[in-house]
């Protein structure tokens, strides 16, 4: 790492509180030669909304995919309600009360709105496990009305819906469950201002109810300061900042990100300088 006027990169170590619902310690994950996560420490209190910031490729989505059981970390430990947590599958994580809205939404275009809402949580008849479509339609209607999402017809394929409606359904899928931890990977992407506000309202309402804890990846600093209790900033596969939103500002967050950019640029310069001096040494011989 380059020395100089740019401040040294900070890595926030593990911290915890007695009422942590989720704690993540020293998580690392590599994909071949690429290090996605180096050393991530994170904790989430009951009823808290944690905003996760970071540049593209910083490792936010990878962290979410490890938390929700879709991928497994190479090293590090996780604790759910104080107990070791090592989900083997998405179903495992769901059984532990963790629901996820993925960046790509994980919606099935060919299936109807209500089948998407109930995917992997289907209601079936007894004793023959045939799909209880009427019951699912009814419950889906109630759930969507409660959340305040306006979907005119719930028996059409989701391929027919607009980007915002699709996002809303992906979010509704997690809210319409018994989850006590919800992971949202860029819930405001592809949304218009009105639909985005609706999702933020929904998060605010869930926070008020205090039953669920939320980890939310966002890009917009203003949204983070507005909607979250605390913010964690991922840089280069580690947490570079972890503060209550009340104690930070758009300026501070921006400065950290800009410093990261300058560090990266200086490192590239240093490498280039080293390469050119090596080349000139070789030609001198």
């Amino acid at each position: 790492m380059a020395d100089g006027p740019v401040p040294e990169m900070k890595v926030v170590g593990p911290s915890s509180a007695p009422d942590d619902v989720l704690r993540v310690e020293h998580i690392a994950k590599r994909f071949g030669p690429v290090t996605a996560l180096r050393d991530v420490n994170l904790h989430l209190k009951k009823g808290e909304v944690l905003g996760l910031l970071g540049d593209n490729g910083a490792g936010k989505s990878t962290l979410i995919k490890i938390l929700c059981g879709f991928q497994k970390q190479d090293s590090g430990e996780m604790f759910l309600h104080g107990k070791p947590y090592a989900p083997k599958s998405v179903d495992d994580a769901r059984a532990g009360g963790i629901e996820t809205v993925y960046q790509d939404l994980a919606l099935i275009d060919e299936l109807s709105v209500y089948h998407n809402l109930f995917l992997r949580k289907e209601r079936v008849h007894r004793p023959f496990p045939l799909l209880a479509n009427r019951q699912m339609k009814r419950e889906a209607r109630v759930a969507l009305d409660e959340i305040g999402i306006n979907i005119p017809r719930i028996d059409v394929a989701v391929a027919r819906l607009s980007g915002g409606q699709r996002q809303a359904i992906a979010v509704a899928r997690t809210v319409n469950s018994d989850a006590d931890i919800i992971l949202l990977d860029e819930p405001l992407a592809a949304m218009g201002a009105k639909e985005g506000a609706m999702i933020l309202d929904l998060v605010a309402r869930l926070k008020e109810e205090g039953k669920v804890s939320i980890v939310m990846i966002l890009h917009n600093y203003v949204h983070v300061l507005e909607a979250c209790d605390r913010v964690s900033l991922i840089q280069d596969g580690a947490i570079a900042l972890d503060k209550p939103t009340a104690e930070t500002s758009v300026e501070e967050l921006t400065e950290i990100v800009v410093n990261e950019y300058r560090r990266a640029r200086e490192a590239t310069h240093a490498e280039e300088a080293a390469a050119s001096s090596a080349a000139s040494a070789a030609s001198a011989d």
């Binding site: 879709f70 599958s89 993925y102 099935i108 060919e110 995917l119 289907e122």
Partner: protein
């Protein structure tokens, strides 16, 4: 067109199978009008052995095709199952246990297909093409390339004395009567046996596809594999299960046909043609090769269409050399009609 007719046509078009139903009816009407023998019960019976096997093969194949995969090895299972059935039977096992064992082996092959595709990550076209050749080759090796009589399918002829009263005189005449065993009657040799198998399998699998989690996950994987996995669908398990289903239906058809025809023919050319016709039937029945959408009933009607076409062309006295050519053209025309009707359907269901 009268209002009632237009209403009916609109309803048909709204169905995924609608276009192939319309095309099949048109073809049937054409042959009924042009030949005196098409629309008869006797002809229906000759039609059955052509389309019933295709319908069963198509039913299994649709489950794999909805995933966005393809199973070419059904031709090999069709050829292989009767040969292992024969081996088990001649080794001293009973007829029914031999059938069950043969089907279990087909299921195991299906599991290998599924594992190659879902776990190893080989493209299904390549993996099942390899399995097609391997198991057709294995069939030739095991059978030494020699046809044999299918166990349990022999027809016994007995002579019975029948009393007739002619002009008040009581006379006795000897008549020959064919007997087929119950086993053979159930497994393909009975006139309607294959049709009953086809209808029952198609209905059960259509219910599985439309009204169970298995079917829902099959569509989900074919439509958005990553999304289905992220939602928690066990993609590998469902994929393997569908390949197992497809292989076992193909093995069953092989057994039914061997018992119906009373011989086990170790010749890959028939199975290879059948496998492509089954896929053609599924596609013209409304199943997408790209996955995400499909219908078992549609594949059944697609098979019926191919059966009617084959049968009608023969009745019309079409030169044998032209038959394949006409069949190919008809498939292209039916597919094109399908595309147009599907477009109309999208417009139709979009408005209401």
């Amino acid at each position: 067109m009268p209002a009632g007719g237009r209403e009916l046509l609109n309803r048909l078009i709204a169905l995924r199978e609608g276009s192939i139903i319309v095309v099949t009816i048109i073809v049937a009407i054409y042959f009924s009008a042009n030949t005196s023998t098409f629309f008869t019960g006797e002809n229906f019976k000759t039609l059955l052995p052509y389309f019933a096997p295709l319908a069963i093969l198509g039913a299994g194949e649709v489950f794999v095709m909805i995933l966005g995969e393809i199973d070419l090895s059904i031709g090999a299972m069709y050829m292989f199952a009767p040969i292992v059935f024969y081996k088990f039977q001649t080794a001293g096992l009973g007829l029914l246990p031999s059938v069950i064992l043969a089907l279990l082996i087909c299921m195991a092959v299906g599991a290998i297909n599924g594992a190659f595709v879902a776990v190893v990550g080989v493209s299904s076209f390549v993996a099942t093409l390899g399995m097609l050749f391997s198991f057709e080759g294995l069939s030739l090796i095991l059978s030494h390339g020699t046809p044999v009589a299918t166990p349990g399918a022999q027809i016994h002829q007995t002579t019975v004395m029948v009393h007739h009263i002619v002009n008040g005189h009581n006379i006795v005449l000897a008549e020959k009567v064919n007997h087929v065993g119950t086993f053979a009657k159930v497994f393909g040799a009975g006139t309607y046996s294959e049709l009953i198998w086809a209808v029952v399998i198609v209905l059960i699998l259509q219910v599985v596809l439309t009204f169970t989690r298995w079917g829902l996950y099959t569509v989900a994987i074919g439509s958005n594999k990553l999304g289905a996995a992220e939602a928690g669908v066990k993609v590998r398990l469902v994929t393997i299960r569908n390949f197992v289903l497809c292989s076992s239906t193909a093995g069953l058809v092989g057994l039914l046909e061997a018992i119906r025809s009373q011989t086990i023919q170790p010749d890959p050319s028939g199975p290879n043609e059948l496998l492509l016709l089954a896929i053609a039937g599924a596609v013209i029945g409304g199943t997408l090769l790209a996955g995400g959408s499909g219908t078992i009933v549609g594949a059944f009607i697609g098979a019926l269409f191919l059966g009617i076409l084959d049968d009608g062309l023969i009745l019309q006295g079409v030169n044998a050399n032209y038959k394949l050519f006409y069949t190919g053209l008809a498939i292209i025309v039916a597919m094109t009609a399908n595309v147009f009707v599907a477009r109309a359907r999208r417009g139709h269901s979009g408005s209401g």
